[in-house]
Structures are given as structure tokens and as C-alpha cells.
């Protein structure tokens, strides 16, 4: 049986599934329920500095978009950091860590961008027995207007500075949580590393307005006729997060830096993908907020089964294995030629592949063969784009298969050897070199 234990910055947890810093980790009651359900660790909801706690809106805090059957695809929120008293939180953190010593207890922090507040809160957290801290440089709403959260995360110099303070004033491992609301995710990650941070976690939520109330012409969630952008998360953001994780994993400046992956993880498979891109642990929120803590049991069982099937004894066995395969477009093999293949036994004849190809692509799928409704690929037209695969409602009905010999579309022989854009005759820079 596969071993799911992780050791992230020296912090061990029985599995890589942590609950992200968010409402599910705001208090002892929730966190203990999570641990009972099997979560490997939590990042306690972000603590602010001592004094009067922040206040939240009292109207709706969340908005969402849905897929068919009202499956929640994306969630956004305008909730702030914990609005509970700092002392209460610290006391509960200490208690929970004592009660659950085998689980990872990370504490998320967000205080003004000055050295003393960071120094003070780090000292308080250290006394709880927590395993590490995560610096919340990500929240894009509310706190950022006060110079915290993503306001820090968007300025690499601030990240570096705060990370350095934290390392100076605490022995605890420091994870810097990154905001995706930035052009190049590598910059803040590099800054974190320069500041001495032990790891990064990403992504925090994305600036978003999930919908507009067309009766009142106001963004949703709407508070008394007005709305504000919120932080977007859930399954819809996973592709964005995976890309950002991969950028950090393969960037020479940050390569090898531990990453805790966050963004739209709903299943074991999502988690495995993050780990394959280099993440040592993953953090989950929306899935738990949608289905409750029990879903971690599917994640654990699914990951174990897959690892057993593939022969991966530990998380480390496959961690980062996809990183070398993330490359730039210019290095993709242009001699790799595929054609769509429709399995007629599985085809239910909905015709979506045909109309997608006919209206929006390459007119490469029939709708009628010998007067009968039938969907077949016309190899002479098929560019192998994969759109038909993506719009087909039946799993595995349409697949892309590599061909060799002559490409019926171009009539030209397919070079069996690897060849990319950098050496392609149509590449102006190649021609220029040839001319010189």
C-alpha cells in the first residue's frame, strides 16, 4: 500500500491534503472535525495583529458560477481574515496541535508591512506549538486596500523584505502564499526565495466579479445594492494555478523550492497533478466548502489506489515528474502528427464534434455517410486540434492518434524525427541565419 506521508519543510503529515487558510480553518471546532475526517493538516485562517479584530460584511460574502446540474465550478468571496480575537485563535491553535500532534498545523498571518507587527505575531505563534507559518500576501480584497494581502504580494521587494523579517524573528519554517493577480508569477516567487522563505504556496484567489444582478445592475454578491470584486477559487481556477506552479517549478531561480499547491483541487487526481508538477503538499478549500470534510477520504483512497497501480511507494516517487515535460511552445515537436479517431461503438451520435469542427474549425468531421447520420473524421482535413475530443460528451469516445508515413492533409511525408519551430524553415530567424 502506498505511503501518503509527507515531509514538507520538516513538517510531517499523514497525507498531503491540507485545508487551506479559509473559513473551514477558522476555529477549533471546524479543524478538529477536519482532522477527524482525515485531513493531513490545516493552514489556520489568517490571523491579524492584536487589538480589535477586523469586521466582516453582514450581507452575502460568497458568489459562484455553476455548471450543469448546478455543480459549483467557481466560488468567490469578500470575506476578510479571521474576525475572531487573536488570543482565542492562538489558544485554540495550541489546543488542537496538542490534541492532534501528527497533523500539520500551519498558521497564516497578515499584519501591516512593518517589522514590529511581524516580529510580535511570530513570537505569539511560536508559543502555540504550530509547525510553520504562511504569510498571506494574497488576498485581493479588503485587506489589500489597507496595504496588506495582495498589496504586498504584488510588490516583490515587499515580499522579500517581510520574508526576511520573518526568518530573522522566528525559527518556524516560512511559507509565502502568492497572489495570482500579477503578470509574472516567477517574480514574487524569486523574491520570496531571496528573502529566505522556505517555500511558496499558490495560488491565492483571483480578482473576480462572478456575476451581475441584472435586476439591480450590481455585482454579486451584492451588499445593499453594491458589490466589490472578490477572490475567485474553485475548480475553474485549477488550470491557472497549475500553470503558475509549473512556472515556479521550472524557473532556474526557484527550481527545487518547496511548493504547496492550491487552486481548485476537488479530487485525488487534481492533487496528483499538482504533485506531479512539484508540489509537496496541496491545499484544499472550495471542495470542502461544497461537500464537507468527508471528501478527503475519496482523495486519500483515490491517490493510494493510483499510486499502487503505478507502483509509486511514496509521494516523493512521482513528485515533480511532470516538470521536465513542461516546455515552451517553440520546443514542441512539429513532426508529431495526430488525427482524431471516433469510436463508433461508443458514439451516441450527438453530432457536437461535427458542428464544432464544421462551424468553428476545419470541416474535418462528417455528419452523414451514405445517407446515414454518421460522424467520421476526414483525415485530409483534420489538423489534430483535439476540439472534437473536448466537446464530445462521452469519455474516450474520440481519441487522438499519432500517424506516420504521409499526412493525408498535407500530402507530405511525416518526418519521423523530432523537429521544432526553432529549426523550422518558416521561422524568420532560421531563414535569417541561413541567409547570413
Amino acid at each position: 500500500m502506498a505511503d501518503l506521508h509527507t515531509n514538507f519543510l520538516g513538517v510531517s503529515s499523514p497525507n498531503p491534503f491540507w485545508l487551506a487558510s479559509a473559513p473551514p480553518t477558522d476555529k477549533q471546532y471546524n479543524v478538529e472535525r477536519a482532522f477527524e475526517a482525515g485531513w493531513g493538516g490545516v493552514v489556520w485562517k489568517t490571523l491579524g495583529e492584536a487589538g480589535p479584530p477586523v469586521v466582516n460584511v453582514n450581507g452575502p460574502r460568497y458568489g459562484a458560477i455553476w455548471g450543469p446540474d448546478r455543480r459549483l465550478l467557481g466560488l468567490n468571496n469578500i470575506e476578510l481574515i479571521t474576525d475572531r480575537d487573536l488570543e482565542v485563535n492562538l489558544r485554540e491553535i495550541e489546543t488542537v496541535k496538542k490534541n492532534w500532534p501528527d497533523r500539520a498545523m500551519i498558521v497564516s498571518l497578515m499584519v501591516p508591512c512593518e517589522e514590529d507587527p511581524w516580529k510580535n505575531i511570530l513570537a505569539s505563534v511560536a508559543q502555540t506549538g504550530a509547525d510553520a507559518v504562511e504569510l498571506n500576501f494574497g488576498c485581493p480584497h479588503g485587506m489589500s486596500e489597507r496595504g496588506m494581502g495582495s498589496a504586498v504580494g504584488q510588490v516583490p521587494e515587499y515580499i522579500e523584505m517581510v520574508a526576511r523579517w520573518c526568518k530573522q524573528h522566528s525559527d518556524l519554517p516560512v511559507i509565502v502564499k502568492l497572489t495570482p493577480n500579477i503578470t509574472d508569477i516567477r517574480k514574487p516567487a524569486e523574491a520570496a526565495r531571496r528573502g529566505g522563505a522556505d517555500a511558496v504556496s499558490l495560488i491565492n484567489t483571483i480578482n473576480s466579479i462572478v456575476s451581475v444582478d441584472l435586476d439591480n445592475f450590481a455585482p454579486e454578491p451584492t451588499i445593499d445594492g453594491k458589490g466589490s470584486h472578490g477572490g475567485y477559487c474553485g475548480p475553474a481556477v485549477k488550470p491557472i494555478a497549475l500553470s503558475m506552479v509549473s512556472e515556479i517549478a521550472r524557473n532556474p531561480e526557484t527550481h527545487g523550492m518547496p511548493i504547496s499547491g492550491i487552486g481548485g483541487i476537488q479530487t485525488w487526481r487534481d492533487a496528483a497533478e499538482y504533485i506531479a508538477l512539484g508540489c509537496g503538499t496541496v491545499q484544499v478549500c472550495t471542495a470542502a466548502m461544497t461537500y464537507g470534510f468527508k471528501i478527503v477520504q475519496e482523495m486519500i483512497a483515490g491517490l493510494e489506489a493510483w499510486m499502487d497501480e503505478k507502483g509509486h511507494a511514496t509521494i516523493e516517487d512521482f513528485r515533480g515528474m511532470a516538470v521536465p515535460n513542461v516546455t515552451d511552445w517553440q520546443y514542441l515537436n512539429l513532426n508529431y502528427v495526430t488525427k482524431a479517431r471516433i469510436n463508433q461503438d461508443l458514439c451516441i451520435s450527438c453530432g457536437r464534434c461535427h458542428i464544432a469542427c464544421e462551424d468553428t474549425s476545419h470541416q474535418a468531421i462528417t455528419n452523414m455517410v451514405d445517407g446515414v447520420r454518421k460522424f467520421e473524421v476526414i483525415d485530409e482535413e483534420c489538423v489534430g486540434c483535439n476540439l472534437c475530443v473536448n466537446v464530445c460528451p462521452v469519455d474516450d469516445c474520440i481519441t487522438m492518434e499519432q500517424i506516420s508515413g504521409t499526412d493525408p492533409r498535407t500530402g507530405k511525408p511525416i518526418d519521423p524525427d523530432y523537429g521544432n519551430w526553432t529549426e523550422h524553415p518558416n521561422n524568420p530567424s532560421v531563414q535569417r541565419e541561413a541567409a547570413e
Binding site: 450543469p68 446540474d69 448546478r70 451516441i348 455528419n367 447520420r373 460528451p393
Partner: protein, 503 residues
């Protein structure tokens, strides 16, 4: 044997559970009753056993009574067979639609409703727009949603039937959309074109006539519908099971259709009795015939005319028109002859009225039944027995001439359908004839129309052999006898008439 009648009351079963002593006599009588009413006799050569004859002679009048059920049960029994979707159910179901290209459901729909589009409109919160999409092709979309055999039309070919054996519930969604429109929109969805000054006579205010009338009125023509019955709606009003069209929906739909204006309905005006086709042709620019099939096939047996050997369509009409189902007499043991929708409709409804046993007898096999498998299941789940390969041979009658049973001969396919000589006799307090309807001859007066198999011959535009007469619905040859087909006939004919009148 007055006391016997008590036994035949459905309520009797409960009495039977009372203390034995008190009901000794009753039990004895019950046993006797069971033998006479349910006993199966070995067939003799002529189909009558001696026992049959003896019992027929001794038998009391058929047990036909009203009020077999507790008064409050009728409303439940005749409520919607399927409760209409609420908004949540509709949206969940609409989400299952794949929005197919050249959708098979649309192709299968005789009126070519753009089903993927209306379902998408439901899922995006535009139910009234969905209804408009439906009405664009089928102004009787509300009724068709209720009565269409969707399991053999749109839903049969739904790709999700292929995918997982569960088609999108198109009929229910169509009902959701059209009901939503009728409940929330006052305004008729279409505007009439400027008056053309042309007049069209339509015979029959059934689905074909109403569909034709609406399309013609929309194009500015003046339409008069001549309806033999006292109410418009045709079989929708008179001939379809009550639980398929509750809350007087047929009349609501007639009102909805005629709301467009330019349609006058003259009820109680029958072709050949109150008006002649010659006059209609002479006094109108065009005539559309959509009178259905007013005649009913008989069994061709002695006793066909007995009071309790009943035309199923007429009985359903009575059931549909009564204000008080508990006042409608129904037999205790029922035999229905036929294999179509009408057979199912009368069988299920007599069961719902409290009949104790209802048996449908059909002369061919299950696959040949015109009633869909789904309809057969509806009958069976309501406790109706369906027997195949049995054809009527003789009606068993008592001394008063009342039918008390029916003898049927087993059949088999030997190249053609033929009797095997073996018979069975079923007790029957009522025998319902549901073996098809037929045209009534002599309706057309001096106008000559080509017929095909007794029905009116039409071309693809629903033109008859007379250049001012079009026809559609059950009275024409070819096509299935379905509401939705009649609607399409009316629509096609209206387009052809409009072209002629304005060309």
C-alpha cells in the same frame, strides 16, 4: 341475487376481513360468485362449454355500477399521471440535454420542434421563450407535451437513450415551458397579419383543424370551424385519457389558439347533417377537412349492439365530459378488445373507476400492439392484464340480451393471422370495443374526393383531389393517427392554402 351485488362492490374486500362467523353466508356467496365471474372453463368445440351455457342462463344482470370507490379517491385517481415539473426539476432535466447537432429528437418530431433550442432556453431561465420556440412549430405544443407518445418519437431517439438508456424527458420539459407561458403570459404570442378578405371553412375543431385555423388566421384569413360536437377540441377534449390532460386543459388550449382572432367555431354543426360540403366549397375560398374518424369498428358478432358492449371512444368521451366520475357506471369485470392507445386509455380508466379486473385482449403479439411499450406498462402497473393472440369469437349473453362474457379464439401467425380453434371464455360485465375508428360514408354530398382505404387521399401539401379542399388528421390516408401528426397536417395544409389564396 341482490346480495351478490354487495359482493361485487369493491368495498366488499374489507368486509371479508371481518370476523368469520358474521360473514359465513357472505363467504359462501362469494365463492359462488367467484366461480361464476372468474371461473375459466375448458373450451368445447364451439367455444361454449356446457358450464358457460348453464351459467349464462342463470346469471343475473351484469354488474355495472357507479361509485365503486370512496368519493375522495376519484380526484387522486384521475390526477396527472406524471406530476408536472417544477422549476428545479425542469432545470436539472434541461441540463441533461447535449444540444445535439441536427438533433435526432427534432427530426423525430412530426412538427419539427427545435427541441435542443427550447431546452436550452429553459436551462437559461427563459421558459416563455422556450414555449415560443415550441409554438412556432406546434401551436398545440401544450397538448402534445401531454399526449404525445414521446417514447416512440423524440425520446426514443434521444442520444442519452443511446448513452445511458435514459432519454431527456422532452415531453415533460415541453409541458413545463408551455404551461409556464400559458400561466404567466396574457398576450397571445402571435400577431395577425392584415386581413386578406379570404375565408376558409374548417370541418372539425380537433388538433388538425385548430392547427390549420391558427396558421390561417395568423396570415389574415377569416376562418370558420364547423364542429359536430358541442365542444371544440376533438379527441383532445373527448378521446384521450383524463389523467393525461387534467384541469380542462383541452378547452384552455382552444381558447389560447382562438385568442389570435379571426377564428369562429360553430359547435354542434356536423358535416352532412347541418352543413354540406357543397355549400362550404361554394361559400368559402378554401375548405379544410379535419373531422377525424367518427365511425367505430364493430366486433362483427351477435350482441355487438348490446348496451354493455361499448364503443371505447364513446365511453371515454362520456368519462371526459362528466362532472362527476363517481356517477359514471363501470363494470366489475372488464374486457377490452384492441391493441392501441384507445384500448389502453379505456382499460386504465375503467380500472381507475374501480373495476375489479380489466383484461385487454389483442389478436396479435405484444410487438404488434399499436400502444407503445410505455403505454402497455402504464396499463400493467395500473393492474390491467394484457393478453395477446386472442380474437373475439362470440359474446356470451344472458336471457335479457346483456353481454356477460366473451369467448375468444387463440390465434397464431401461419403466414397470415388465423385462429387455432382453441378458445377461452372470459366473464365480462362490460366489453369495450377499441379496434379502430373508421370514416363515416356519405359526408361529402355532391363533392367527389378520391379516397384511399376509405380515408381521404391527399398529396404532400394535404390537398385532396378537389382543388378547393384540403384535409388532414385521422380522416386522411397515411401517417400515424396521432395528435402531433394531425397538428402537422393542419400546419402544412394551412401553408398550402395560404399560398393558393395569396398567390
Amino acid at each position: 341475487m341482490d346480495s351478490g351485488i354487495k359482493f361485487r362492490n369493491d368495498g366488499h374486500v374489507k368486509e371479508m376481513q371481518a370476523p368469520k362467523k358474521k360473514f359465513d353466508l357472505l363467504i359462501k356467496l362469494l365463492k359462488a360468485s367467484l366461480t361464476t365471474t372468474n371461473g375459466r372453463q375448458e373450451p368445447s368445440h364451439n367455444g361454449f362449454s356446457e358450464g358457460d351455457r348453464a351459467m349464462a342462463q342463470n346469471r343475473v344482470s351484469p354488474d355495472i355500477q357507479a361509485g365503486r370507490l370512496p368519493a375522495d379517491q376519484y380526484a387522486d385517481n384521475f390526477d396527472d399521471l406524471h406530476a408536472p415539473f417544477d422549476r428545479h426539476e425542469a432545470v436539472v432535466e434541461a441540463d441533461r440535454c447535449y444540444f445535439c447537432y441536427d438533433a435526432p429528437c427534432q427530426t423525430a418530431c412530426p412538427t419539427s420542434i427545435d427541441i435542443p433550442m427550447f431546452i436550452r432556453q429553459i436551462s437559461t431561465g427563459n421558459a416563455n421563450g422556450a414555449a415560443k420556440t415550441i409554438f412556432d412549430q406546434n401551436i398545440l405544443g401544450g397538448m402534445c407535451a401531454r399526449v404525445c407518445p414521446t417514447e416512440t418519437l423524440c425520446e426514443e431517439v434521444c442520444v442519452r437513450e443511446a448513452a445511458e438508456g435514459k432519454p431527456v424527458k422532452i415531453g415533460q420539459l415541453q409541458r413545463y415551458a408551455t404551461d409556464h407561458f400559458l400561466e404567466t403570459v396574457e398576450q397571445h404570442p402571435y400577431e395577425r397579419a392584415a386581413p386578406t378578405g379570404k375565408t376558409v371553412a374548417i370541418v372539425g375543431a380537433g388538433p388538425a383543424g385548430l392547427s390549420c385555423a391558427h396558421a390561417l388566421a395568423r396570415n389574415g384569413h377569416e376562418v370558420t370551424i364547423f364542429e359536430a360536437r358541442e365542444k371544440a377540441g376533438g379527441l383532445n377534449e373527448h378521446g384521450i385519457a383524463a389523467y393525461k390532460t387534467t384541469d380542462n386543459f383541452a378547452q384552455s388550449e382552444v381558447d389560447f389558439i382562438t385568442d389570435i382572432g379571426g377564428i369562429a367555431i360553430r359547435n354542434g354543426t356536423a358535416l352532412g347533417r347541418d352543413v354540406t360540403l357543397d355549400d362550404l366549397v361554394a361559400n368559402h375560398d378554401a375548405v379544410f377537412l379535419g373531422m377525424g374518424l367518427p365511425g367505430v369498428n364493430d366486433l362483427g358478432l351477435d350482441g355487438d349492439d348490446a348496451d354493455n358492449c361499448i364503443d371505447a371512444v364513446a365511453y371515454i368521451e362520456k368519462l371526459r365530459q362528466t362532472d362527476d366520475l363517481s356517477a359514471l357506471p363501470v363494470g366489475r369485470n372488464i374486457v377490452v378488445i384492441g391493441g392501441g392507445m384507445t384500448a389502453i386509455d379505456v382499460a386504465v380508466q375503467t380500472k381507475l373507476l374501480g373495476a375489479e379486473t380489466v383484461t385487454i385482449c389483442y389478436r396479435r403479439g405484444q410487438e404488434q400492439m399499436n400502444a407503445s411499450e410505455y403505454e402497455q406498462e402504464v396499463a400493467q402497473t395500473h393492474g390491467v392484464t394484457i393478453r395477446h393472440w386472442l380474437q373475439p369469437q362470440a359474446l356470451v349473453r344472458n336471457d335479457d340480451g346483456d353481454v356477460t362474457g366473451i369467448t375468444l379464439e387463440y390465434t397464431a401467425m401461419n403466414g397470415k393471422l388465423s385462429g387455432t380453434g382453441e378458445t377461452v371464455t372470459l366473464d365480462a360485465d362490460q366489453v369495450f370495443k377499441a379496434i379502430g375508428q373508421k370514416p363515416v360514408e356519405g359526408l361529402f354530398g355532391g363533392v367527389s374526393l378520391d379516397l384511399s382505404g376509405g380515408r381521404i387521399f391527399t398529396d404532400d401539401d394535404r390537398r385532396t383531389s378537389h382543388d378547393k379542399v384540403w384535409a388532414g388528421g385521422d380522416c386522411v390516408a397515411g401517417g400515424e393517427d396521432l395528435t402531433v401528426v394531425a397538428v402537422e397536417d393542419g400546419k402544412i395544409a394551412a401553408a398550402s392554402i395560404h399560398k393558393r389564396l395569396t398567390g
